[in-house]
Symmetry: C2
Subunit: 486 residues, 2 copies
C-alpha cells in the first residue's frame, strides 16, 4: 500500500463488512458506498478505485465488488466513463435530507492549511512569545526520533499522573541550578500550563469560596482560572515595590492565599525586595495561608544577580511554585509544572486521579532527555544572550526616537518592557486608543490598562521584544514613532 492516498481512497478505508450477519456482503458494500456518497465523503466527480484494487483492499471477492457497483450504477450514484474508470455522479435521485457537503479535500494536508479564522500573525510588540525560529528544531526532532521510533515499554505503560519521572528529575535539577530551589522530584507535577496548575491548587489546597489575593495589575487568565476553580479573587494594587501583603491583608483579612510574581512583577517588572518576601512568609505562617509563586520568565535576567525564588526561603511548606515552558521554550508544547510542599501532595494526587493527567506524555520524555543532556540549559543561555541584545536594540531605538514621549520601566530582565506616556501625552489619548491606531500600522501593542482590574488603571504600553529580530524591532519602533508623533 502506498503511504499517500487520495481523499476518496482514504474514505473507502472506513468500509467495514461483516460476514456474520445475514445481509449479503455486496449489499453491505453498496449500502456503505451509498452512505459515503450521500454524506459527501466520496465527492461528486471523484474516481473510485478499480474493482480489482477494491476487492484487494476490502478482502472480498471481485464478484462482491462488481455486484455492489452494478447496484449503485443502476441507482445512478456512480457512472462509468469509457476507458477512464468509475466516477461518483449527481444524477441520482437523492433522498430528502441527504447532505452533499462541500468538498474540503483542497484543504487536506499540511502543505495547504485550511484558513478558517484570521491567521494569528505575530507582530511587534506581541508579548510572552519566544523566538521559535531560534529553537533547535533539528536537535529536538532527533531526540524525539531516538525516543519514539522504538519506544521503551515503560513509555507505553507508565502514565504517572504527576508526569514522566525523568522529566520531574530534570525539572528539579533545573530549579536547583537556576532558581536556588531545593526540591525533590516527588514534589513536582507536570501540567499543561498555568491554568491546569491553578486547577490542581484550587481543588487541592483551598475550600470552595476561599478568597485569594492577586496582583493588580496582573495576569488575568490566572485570576480567571482561580474563579473557575471555585475561589474568590481579591486584587491588591501594586505599589512601587510590588506586592504588599499588609495592604492585601487589610483589604481582605479573610484571605487564605496569594498569587505573586516576586522575581518580576507581571507586567510592571519590579523585583519584590527581600523584606517584602519575608513579610509574605510571615503572613503565611501566621494565617496558615498559601503563597503561589508564579515565576513565568525568570530565566531571562540580563544584569545583576537574580534573587533566589521565594520558595527557596520557605521553611514551612507555605509556597507553591509555578513554572512554564511556554515562554522560555515554546508555547507549542503546552507544558508547565508546579512544585508543591509535601503537605499538599496527597490532595493534589486525589485531584489528579479524579480528573486524569494533564500534559501530553508524548512530549515529556523528549523534553526530559533534552534537559538531562544539557541542551535546555544551552538553549536558555543562548536565548538569554539574544534577548538581552534585543532589549538593548529596543531601548536604544526607543530612547532615540521616542525618548521625549515614553518613559521606560525596568529592563533588567524578562521578555517585555513597560513604557509610560510622559507629561502631557498622558491625558490626550488612552492606551487603548493608541493600541487601536497602532494596529493599523501593523503593530500589536498591549495596553497596560488591560492588565488592571477595577477603575484605577495606569495608562501605558507593554512591549514584547523577545520574538523579534533587530530589523523588526527597529522597524517597529519607527512605526510606533509614526503612531505616537504622527
Amino acid at each position: 500500500m502506498q503511504a499517500k492516498r487520495t481523499a476518496a481512497e482514504a474514505s473507502l478505508l472506513s468500509v467495514s463488512l461483516d460476514r456474520k450477519v445475514k445481509t449479503p456482503l455486496h449489499a453491505q458494500l453498496a449500502d456503505q458506498l451509498r452512505r459515503l456518497i450521500l454524506n459527501g465523503r466520496l465527492p461528486v466527480g471523484s474516481k473510485l478505485p478499480s474493482s480489482r484494487k477494491l476487492s484487494a483492499e476490502l478482502s472480498v471477492s471481485r464478484v462482491t465488488v462488481v455486484t455492489a457497483m452494478d447496484q449503485l450504477l443502476s441507482e445512478g450514484y456512480i457512472e462509468t466513463r469509457q476507458g477512464s474508470g468509475v466516477f461518483v455522479t449527481v444524477t441520482a435521485d437523492l433522498p430528502d435530507g441527504a447532505v452533499l457537503r462541500p468538498d474540503y479535500s483542497q484543504g487536506i494536508g499540511f502543505e495547504k492549511p485550511f484558513e478558517m479564522s484570521e491567521a494569528l500573525e505575530i507582530r511587534p510588540f506581541q508579548t510572552a512569545l519566544p523566538d521559535l525560529s531560534l529553537f533547535p528544531h533539528r536537535q529536538w526532532s532527533r531526540t524525539f526520533d531516538r525516543i519514539w521510533r522504538q519506544p521503551d515499554a515503560t513509555l507505553l505503560t507508565n502514565q504517572d499522573p504527576f508526569g514522566w519521572p525523568a522529566l520531574r528529575v530534570a525539572i528539579a535539577d533545573h530549579l536547583a541550578a537556576w532558581r536556588g530551589i531545593a526540591c525533590s522530584p516527588e514534589q513536582i507535577v507536570v501540567t499543561a500550563g498555568t491554568r491546569d496548575a491553578i486547577d490542581l491548587i484550587a481543588h487541592g489546597a483551598f475550600r470552595k469560596d476561599d478568597t485569594v489575593l492577586v496582583e493588580n495589575p496582573g495576569y488575568k487568565s490566572l485570576g480567571l482560572a482561580l474563579v473557575d476553580g471555585g475561589l474568590k479573587v481579591r486584587p491588591v494594587p501594586m505599589g512601587p515595590q510590588g506586592f504588599d501583603i499588609a495592604r492585601g491583608a487589610a483589604l481582605a483579612p479573610e484571605a487564605k492565599g496569594a498569587v505573586v510574581t516576586p522575581s518580576r512583577q507581571f507586567p510592571l517588572g519590579m523585583t519584590l525586595p527581600v523584606a517584602r518576601r519575608l513579610d509574605l512568609l510571615s503572613w503565611a505562617r501566621e494565617t496558615d495561608g498559601l503563597l503561589i509563586e508564579d515565576d513565568y520568565d525568570s530565566e531571562f535576567r540580563y544584569s545583576g544577580a537574580p534573587l533566589p525564588a521565594l520558595m527557596s526561603l520557605d521553611e514551612h511548606g507555605a509556597v507553591v511554585y509555578l513554572g512554564s515552558f511556554s515562554k522560555v521554550l515554546s508555547p507549542t508544547f503546552r507544558l508547565g509544572f508546579l512544585v508543591a510542599p509535601h503537605r499538599l501532595l496527597d490532595a493534589i494526587r486525589n485531584r489528579l486521579l479524579a480528573t486524569g493527567p494533564r500534559a501530553s506524555f508524548l512530549v515529556q520524555p523528549v523534553l526530559a532527555r533534552f534537559m538531562a543532556e544539557g541542551n535546555f540549559a544551552v538553549h536558555l543561555r543562548r536565548m538569554r544572550r539574544v534577548y538581552g541584545q534585543r532589549r538593548d536594540v529596543l531601548a536604544a531605538a526607543l530612547a532615540e526616537q521616542l525618548g521625549d514621549v515614553l518613559e521606560m520601566g525596568d529592563l533588567s530582565a524578562g521578555m517585555h518592557a513597560v513604557a509610560w506616556l510622559r507629561g502631557d501625552r498622558k491625558s490626550t489619548e488612552t492606551d487603548q486608543e493608541i493600541a487601536a491606531r497602532a494596529s493599523g500600522a501593523g503593530l500589536f501593542l498591549q495596553p497596560l490598562s488591560s492588565y488592571y482590574a477595577g477603575k484605577t488603571r495606569t495608562q501605558g504600553l507593554v512591549l514584547g521584544y523577545a520574538a523579534f529580530d533587530d530589523a523588526r524591532l527597529i522597524d517597529g519602533v519607527r512605526r510606533l514613532s509614526g503612531v505616537l508623533n504622527g
Copy 2:
C-alpha cells in the same frame, strides 16, 4: 561542545556573569559556584571542569576562573586532588540553613527513569486503553521528523485557539466517512481531552447552576468536569434500551442539557434505538436544550452496521459531539475534539480566547498529516480487526471457564465487555470485594458498581480487552476463574 554532559557540567551552564555591574567577574563567579554547591546542584564529590574549559564555556579569562577557584578553595568548598583535578568537598563551614539536597543524578535521563510512585503497570482487564505496542511508532516518528525538522513558518506563528487548521479538516473528513456527520472544519475545536471540551461547553453554552442530565451508570470524570464548570448534574437511571429522555425530563424538568452515549452506552454497551434518539432531539427542540454526544470508541464496531451519530440526525443545532484520540490512538497524545453547532461558536471562541488554547500544537500538525495520508484510517481498521479477534478470544475463554458464573453483555463493539454475576453468586460477594481479591491475583477489575451514582448499583465486572494479546487474555481468564471459583 559535546551533546552529553555530566550533571555537574550541565549545572555550570546556568552561571551568568554580568560585565556591567560593579562586582568583579571573579567574585560573581565565586558567588554563583558557591550557590550551586550549597543547593546541591554541584554535589559533594563531583569534579569541576578544568579552568581552561571553564573559561572557554563562560567566555571569561582563565585568570578570572582561577581567582574564583582560589576563593572557594580558601573557603573550603572545593579541594584539589593531586593529578586528578578539582572536586567539591564537604569541609566547608556551611552557613545555617544551607541545604545539601540529595543527589538525584542517578535518576537523570531517560534510560533510568526515577521511580517516584508505584509504577502504573497495565494489567488485564484494564479499560479504555489501546494496545500501544501496535501503534505505528516508526511511521509516526518519521512524520514528526518531516514536519518539525525544518518547520514551516506557519507552524510557528499560527496558533488558532480552535486548533491546527489542517487537523480540523482531517477530523471533519474522518467524521464524514466513519460517523456520517456532515460538519465543516470551522465547527471543530481541538481539545486536550473530554475534560477540556466540557469546560468549553459549560462556559459557552450554559449558565452557571444550569442542570444537565447525565447517564447513570456513566463516565464519572465527565460529571465532575460539568460540576467544575459550574453546572448541576442530575443522573438518570438507564433502562434496558439506554437513556430515556422522558424519564430525565420527569426527574429534572428544569434540565437545560443532557450528556449521552448513544453509539454505545458507557459502560453498559447498549446502542440507543433510533426512536429514543428522535425523542432526544424533540426534547432539545422543545426545551431549547443542548445534547452532548460522547462518542468515545465508536470506531470499533465489529459486527452490524453502526448507526450514524446522533449529530447526523440533528437539523437544529442541538447537538455537540465529543470525540477522543486517547482510546482509539494513544492516551499519550492528550488530544480530543468537539464539534459544535454554528450558534455556539462565538461563545466557545470567547472562552478559548480568555483561557488559551488547550491542546499541544506540537502534535496537531503531525496527526493532521498522519490522517490526511490515510494512515489513521489504516491503523483504525487494523486495530478493529485485532480487537475484534481479542473480543472473540475473551468471549470464548469466559464461556468455557466461567459460563456458569458470568453473564456477558453486548460484545458487538468497543474495547471492553460487561459481565454480570449469575444467580446466587450475586448475593455472596460485592463486585468491589471481587475486584479487591482479583488485584491480589494480578488482575485489574473495574467494579460495575463504581460507575453508578446514588444507592442503586448493579453488581458486575467491566473487562477491558483491547490492550491485551491473546495469551494475556487467556491467562487473565484463568486467573479470574481462580478468583471466582477458588
